[in-house]
C-alpha cells in the first residue's frame, strides 16, 4: 500500500475494521496508517514558474509526482517556495491535458497521428520558406529554444523567429545594451542580502518574485535594517512592507529618475570619481538609434536642468519632498542601494529610455559594483534570460549576444553550425507585434506561425487587431504546441500535445544569470512529446524530402547526432529520442557561442551536479568551474584585469565606460481624456502564472484566486455608484470587458487608475490594451492606456 490519497482512503476502511479487535493493553499500534510511499525518490529541478528560478525537489513514486519540497541546498531560495512552487507538481495533472495531435477539419479539431502532423507542418514550410515563422517563449528550455533558433536562423534562414519575451523583457535588454554594451544584470541575488535600501520601481515582488522579497524580509526578521521604498501607481502587498510609498502617475518613473539625477548634480553629490573613471555620456540621435550619439557632461547636465523637484512633482505626482528623499539616499555613499524593477519599467512605450535612466542614477551616484549596490532588472519568465536573451531567439539576433546584421557574427554562427557560408540571412525578421500584424493581414508575408510554450491569443496586446483577423484570412495557418487547451489552441489549425517540465529533460536560465538543469522524471501523458523533438522531427521530414535548408555544410542533417561510437542516432523517431541526451548535445554545441560576450557556460555535467551556476563560468587551474557573482567588478569578474576596479569591457564607446544617458520625459501615446478618463493597468497576481493555463488547473491556486476583476479606488467607485463585487463594464477604444469590481481589495490603485489582472482566459483584458511599443525594443506597454467604466 503506497502513501497516496487514493490508497489512504482505501486503507482507512481496512484500519477501522481492524481497530475494534485491538487489545487495550497492547503497546501502541505500529501499523502505519499511511506507509511512506514505496520507492519515493527526490530529484532536483528548477520550479516551472517565474524568473526567480527557485529550486525544488520533486517527489516521485510509481511514475507520478506526489510531493514537492523547497530545495534547502539551493542558494536562490534556500528551501523556501511560494504557493505556486509548492503546488507545481499539480501542474502536470489537469484532466484535460492534451494527449493527441489535433488538426482542424471543417471547423473542428480532430485527432491525427504524429506522422501526419509532421507532414502537415513540412507542407506549410514548403509552401514558402520565407513566410514560415516560429513564435517562441521565455519558457522554452535552452535546448528547445536553441533547436528552433538553429532551424530558423541556420536552416530556413528567414530570421522569422521571435519570442513572447519580446512582450516582457525586450526593453530591459535594450536598456542594458544602451548602457553597458552587453545584456543582463551585473549583480545577482546576493545584492538583496547586502543592500541597506531597496527601491521598487513599479513592481510588486511580494507577489511576483516572492522568494526574493522574503529574502529581504528575513533580514529584517533577524534585526537588520532595510529601508524599502515602493514607487508605484497602486498599493500592493509589497507596499505593506515598505517604509515609503511614493504614489506615482503612470509614466512618472521617467521624471523621477531624471529628478534624482538633477538633484545629485545640483548638490554636487554624485560620485565624481566613478563618473570620471567609468562613465561616458549619450543622448538620442537624429534619427534615433539604440546607441544614440555621444555627448559631454555639460550637455548631460543641461538636459537635466529642467527636472527640478517641482517639475518632477508636476510630471510624476510624487511630492517634491519625496524626490529630495530619494536623492538623499543616492547621495549617501555609505548606503548600499538596490533598485528592483520588472514589468512597470519594461512594458513601457519608453522602456529602453527609462531602463537606461535608472541604470544612470546608479552609475551617476556610484551605487554600482559593490554587493548591495545594484540596478537589478528582474525577469518574469523562467528562461527569458537563459533561452531568449542568451540563445538569441529574436528576429534580429544570433546566439551568444550576436546579431544577424554583423558579418563576423554570421560567419561565426555558420562555422559553429557547420552550414554553408552565406546561409545566415543578414536581414532581421519581424518582431512580435509586426509578425502578428503580418500574419493577420490579407496577403501578409507571414503565412504560418508555429507557437511553442506560450499563449499569444491571451497575451498579445489589442488582440482584436493582432490575432483575430488572422482567423479570417484565407491562408494563415496557426500551429500550437502546448500542454492544455488554451485561448490559442481554441483558434489554432494544428494543435500538438507537448511534454512539460519534469516530463522531459531541460535547462533554463534565471534572472541572476544562473543556468540550471534537470532530468526527466515522469512520462508525459498520451502522445505528448518534447517540443524539442517536434522541431527536430519537422527538420528531418524536410531533410528527407530533400530540402537543402536542412542540410549542413557537408550535406548531413542539420541536427545530426551521434552516439559514442560515432553512429548517427535517429532522434527524430520519438522512441529513440532518449537513446542519447539530446539536451546535452545541443547545449554543448550552443556553449561554443557563449565566449564572445563573456557569457561563458560550463559543460553540461557541471550543471547536473550544481543547483545552477552563474555565468561567466570559468575553469580554474585545478579543473574546477567557478561562477561569477558580480560582473565588471575586479575580484569578482575574472575578465576584469587587476587594478582596473570596474571595467565595462563591452563598452559601446570602446573605452571601458558605461553610458550615462540623458533622456527627456516623453508622454505616453494614449492618455486619459474626457471620453476615456481612467488609466488602465494590467498585471499579475501571486497565485497565477501568466495566462493561468497551468495554475487555474491547480486547485489551491484556482480557489484562492478564481477569477479576474477590476480594481477601483473607493472614491472612483463611489462616483460611479459602483459597489464592491458589482459587475461593471470596462471599455477602451479597442474593446469591452464586463467583470466584477474589487474595491480596496488586494491592490489599491490611486484615484483615476484601474487595474485588471490578465490570468483569466474567460476575461481577456488584452482585448482592451494598446499595441503601441518602444521604438528600440518593440515591446508594447501593457500598463497604460485610456479606459472608462460604467455599471453593467
Amino acid at each position: 500500500m503506497t502513501g497516496t490519497r487514493r490508497n489512504f482512503m482505501k486503507g482507512a476502511a481496512v484500519a477501522a475494521a481492524a481497530s475494534a479487535s485491538r487489545d487495550a493493553l497492547a503497546v501502541l499500534p505500529t501499523k502505519n496508517l499511511a506507509t511512506p510511499p514505496e520507492g519515493l525518490t527526490w530529484d532536483k529541478a528548477p520550479c516551472r514558474f517565474c524568473g526567480t528560478g527557485c529550486h525544488v525537489e520533486v517527489g516521485v513514486t510509481e511514475g507520478e509526482v506526489v510531493a514537492v519540497r523547497g530545495d534547502q541546498q539551493a542558494e536562490v531560495n534556500k528551501g523556501l517556495l511560494c504557493v505556486k512552487g509548492y503546488h507545481v507538481g499539480l501542474a502536470l495533472y489537469g484532466k484535460d491535458r492534451l494527449r493527441q495531435p489535433l488538426l482542424r477539419k471543417n471547423g473542428k479539431l480532430v485527432p491525427i497521428s504524429w506522422d501526419e502532423a509532421i507532414d502537415v507542418i513540412a507542407d506549410r514550410v514548403e509552401k514558402g520558406t520565407e513566410g514560415f515563422a516560429f513564435y517562441g517563449s521565455g519558457q522554452w528550455t535552452i535546448p528547445e529554444g536553441y533547436a528552433a533558433q538553429k532551424f530558423i536562423k541556420g536552416g530556413l534562414a528567414n530570421n522569422q523567429i521571435d519570442p513572447n519575451a519580446r512582450l516582457c523583457m525586450a526593453s530591459a535588454v535594450t536598456g542594458f545594451l544602451a548602457v553597458y554594451g552587453v545584456d543582463e544584470p551585473a549583480g545577482c541575488y546576493d545584492d538583496l542580502d547586502a543592500c541597506d535600501v531597496l527601491i521598487l520601481w513599479g513592481n510588486n515582488p511580494a507577489e511576483m518574485h516572492p522568494i526574493l522579497f522574503s529574502r529581504v524580509l528575513e533580514r529584517r526578521e533577524k534585526g537588520e535594517k532595510v529601508r524599502i521604498i515602493d514607487i508605484g501607481t497602486r498599493r500592493t502587498r509589497s507596499t505593506e512592507f515598505a517604509d515609503d510609498y511614493l504614489a506615482m502617475k503612470p509614466q512618472g518613473d521617467m521624471a523621477i529618475a531624471n529628478g534624482i539625477a538633477h538633484l545629485l548634480l545640483e548638490r554636487g553629490a554624485y560620485d565624481t570619481k566613478f563618473v570620471a573613471d567609468h562613465c561616458a555620456f549619450r543622448a538620442d540621435s537624429d534619427p534615433p538609434s539604440l546607441h544614440g550619439k555621444a555627448i559631454d557632461f555639460e550637455e548631460y547636465r543641461k538636459g537635466l536642468a529642467e527636472y527640478t523637484p517641482q517639475r518632477v512633482e508636476e510630471l510624476s505626482g510624487v511630492p517634491a519632498a519625496q524626490i529630495e528623499m530619494l536623492a538623499d539616499q543616492f547621495a549617501d555613499p555609505n548606503l548600499r542601494i538596490t533598485s528592483l524593477w520588472c514589468m512597470g519599467m519594461n512594458q513601457h512605450t519608453q522602456g529602453t529610455a527609462v531602463n537606461s535612466m535608472v541604470h544612470g542614477v546608479h552609475l551617476l551616484s556610484g551605487h554600482f559594483g559593490k554587493p548591495g549596490d545594484a540596478p537589478t532588472s528582474l525577469t518574469g519568465q523562467p528562461s527569458a534570460c537563459g533561452t531568449v536573451r542568451e540563445v538569441g531567439t529574436l528576429a534580429h539576433a544570433l546566439p551568444g549576444g550576436r546579431v544577424v546584421k554583423n558579418e563576423a557574427h554570421r560567419k561565426q554562427s555558420e562555422d559553429i553550425w557547420n552550414v554553408p557560408p552565406g546561409r545566415v540571412n543578414p536581414k532581421p525578421g519581424l518582431h512580435t507585434v509586426a509578425m502578428w500584424e503580418s500574419f493577420s493581414k490579407e496577403g501578409g508575408d507571414i503565412h504560418t506561425i508555429w507557437v511553442q510554450v506560450t499563449n499569444p491569443a491571451q497575451t498579445l496586446p489589442n488582440r482584436g487587431a493582432l490575432v483575430d483577423p488572422s482567423r479570417k484570412r484565407d491562408d494563415a495557418f496557426l500551429i500550437v504546441s502546448d500542454v492544455y487547451p488554451t485561448a490559442t489552441t481554441e483558434i489554432a489549425d494544428l494543435v500538438l500535445p507537448s511534454a512539460m517540465w519534469v516530463e522531459k529533460n531541460g535547462m533554463v536560465g534565471n534572472s541572476e544569470r544562473r543556468t540550471q538543469q534537470w532530468f526527466k522524471m515522469v512520462q508525459p501523458p498520451g502522445e505528448a512529446r518534447d517540443d524539442c523533438w517536434q522541431t527536430i522531427a519537422v527538420a528531418r521530414r524536410l531533410y528527407d524530402r530533400g530540402r537543402p535548408e536542412m542540410k549542413d555544410r557537408d550535406g548531413n542533417f542539420l541536427f545530426r547526432m551521434e552516439d559514442e561510437a560515432g553512429k548517427e542516432v535517429p532522434v527524430w523517431k520519438f522512441d529513440r529520442y532518449y537513446d542519447i541526451n539530446v539536451d546535452e548535445r545541443l547545449f554543448e554545441e550552443y556553449r561554443k557561442f557563449t565566449r564572445l560576450k563573456h557569457k561563458d557556460l560550463a559543460p553540461y555535467d557541471q550543471y547536473v551536479k550544481a543547483r545552477g551556476m552563474r555565468w561567466p563560468v570559468v575553469q580554474q587551474e585545478d579543473g574546477s568551474w567557478k561562477e561569477t557573482r558580480f560582473r565588471f567588478a575586479e575580484g569578482h569578474d575574472p575578465y576584469v584585469e587587476k587594478g582596473k576596479g570596474i571595467d565595462f569591457y563591452h563598452s559601446t564607446s570602446k573605452d571601458g565606460r558605461a553610458q550615462l544617458w540623458f533622456r527627456p520625459y516623453v508622454a505616453p501615446p494614449e492618455v486619459p481624456d474626457a471620453e476615456y478618463p481612467l488609466w488602465l493597468c494590467t498585471g499579475r497576481v501571486l497565485e497565477h502564472w501568466h495566462t493561468g493555463t497551468m495554475t487555474m488547473r491547480m486547485r489551491p491556486c484556482r480557489r484562492a484566486m478564481p477569477s479576474a476583476y477590476v480594481e477601483l479606488h473607493p472614491e472612483d467607485a463611489a462616483a460611479l455608484g459602483v459597489q464592491d463585487g458589482e459587475n461593471v463594464v470596462v471599455e477602451t477604444r479597442r474593446g469591452t470587458l464586463e467583470l466584477a469590481a474589487w474595491v480596496d481589495g488586494r491592490g489599491a490603485p490611486e484615484r483615476g487608475n484601474i487595474f485588471i489582472p490578465f490570468f483569466d482566459e474567460r476575461l481577456i483584458v488584452n482585448n482592451l490594451t494598446l499595441e503601441a511599443y518602444d521604438p528600440f525594443s518593440k515591446q508594447p506597454d501593457y500598463k497604460k492606456c485610456a479606459a472608462r467604466i460604467r455599471k453593467a
Binding site: 489512504f8 503497546v27 505500529t30 501499523k31 496508517l33 530529484d43 506526489v66 495533472y93 488547473r697 491556486c701
Partner: protein, 245 residues
C-alpha cells in the same frame, strides 16, 4: 542572625513558627507513606460531595492526609494507553488535516477569510495558537517566522463572490494529482520513542502541533518534555540529505 534584646516578642514568634513548620513537615513526611497505601485502597470513582472537615494534628496520626478527590478515582479510570485516540478516530482526523493540504508537506490553505493585502494580522492568532471560547484553537505556526504569510498560505476559497469558485471549478475541471500522505512514526521496539515521520524543515517548532497548543490527536502525552530531538530521531528518508546529487 543577630538577636536584639528589644525583639524578644519577635524572637518568640519566630521560634514558634519554626516549630510549627517543622511539625507540619514531619507530619507531612510521615503521612505520605500512609497516603500512598491509602490511595491504592481507594475504591474507584469515589467522590465526596461535601468539604472535608480539617483534622487535628492528633487525628492525622491515624487518619492522614490523602490526595484530594476526584484525582484518586480518575487515575484508576485512565485508559492504559494514555488517552490516545484509536486508529479510526486518528485516521478521520488525519483526513481532515489532509483536506487542507495538497500533499503532506504542502503549506495548508487558510480555511477562513483574510485581508487580502496585509499579512500583519495573521500572527495575532497563529503565533501561539490562540484559544477561542467555543473550544477551538487556531493552529500555531510550526516554522520560524516568515512575515509574508500569504506568499505560501492562500485562502481555501476566495473570490469576489462565491459563485466565482464554483464557476472556475466547472470551467477548468479536475486535477488528478494524488499527493503523498503523512505517515506515523515507526518505533524500533515496543515503547521506543517513535521516529519523526516527516522532515523537520519548516517544522522546527515541534510544540506547535505536538505540544499543549497542538490539536488533541497530535498532542504528545508528555508535553512537559520540550527537548524533543533528544529522543525522537529524524527520518533519513524524509530529511533532505546534505550533499545530495
Amino acid at each position: 542572625m543577630n538577636w536584639d534584646d528589644n525583639n524578644n516578642p519577635r524572637k518568640l514568634f519566630m521560634l514558634v513558627a519554626g516549630l510549627l513548620v517543622g511539625l507540619a513537615a514531619t507530619a507531612f513526611l510521615t503521612s505520605s507513606d500512609h497516603a500512598s497505601h491509602e490511595r491504592h485502597k481507594q475504591p474507584a470513582g469515589e467522590v465526596e460531595d461535601s468539604a472535608r472537615p480539617a483534622r487535628t494534628y492528633r487525628e492525622l496520626a491515624t487518619n492522614p492526609w490523602r490526595q484530594p478527590q476526584p484525582f484518586d478515582g480518575a487515575l484508576a479510570n485512565l485508559p492504559v494507553n494514555g488517552g490516545r485516540l484509536d486508529d479510526s478516530t486518528r485516521e478521520a482526523w488525519i483526513g481532515e488535516r489532509a483536506k487542507r493540504r495538497a500533499y503532506d508537506g504542502a503549506p495548508p490553505v487558510v480555511p477562513h477569510a483574510i485581508t487580502e493585502r496585509s499579512s500583519a494580522a495573521c500572527l495575532t492568532c497563529h503565533a501561539d495558537g490562540m484559544a477561542f471560547p467555543q473550544g477551538d484553537r487556531a493552529s500555531t505556526i510550526c516554522h520560524d517566522v516568515l512575515r509574508s504569510c500569504t506568499q505560501c498560505h492562500v485562502p481555501a476559497t476566495s473570490g469576489i463572490t462565491n459563485a466565482d469558485v464554483a464557476a472556475a471549478d466547472a470551467y477548468f475541471g479536475e486535477n488528478v494529482f494524488e499527493g503523498r500522505m503523512g505517515t506515523v512514526g515507526e518505533r524500533a521496539a515496543p515503547g521506543a520513542p517513535p521516529m519523526i515521520p516527516h522532515t523537520t524543515w519548516m517544522r522546527e517548532r515541534c510544540s506547535a502541533c505536538h505540544g499543549e497548543a497542538g490539536p488533541n490527536p497530535l498532542r504528545t502525552p508528555h508535553t512537559s518534555r520540550t527537548h524533543c530531538r533528544q529522543c525522537h530521531g529524524s527520518s533519513a528518508q524524509e530529511e533532505q540529505h546534505p550533499g545530495f546529487g
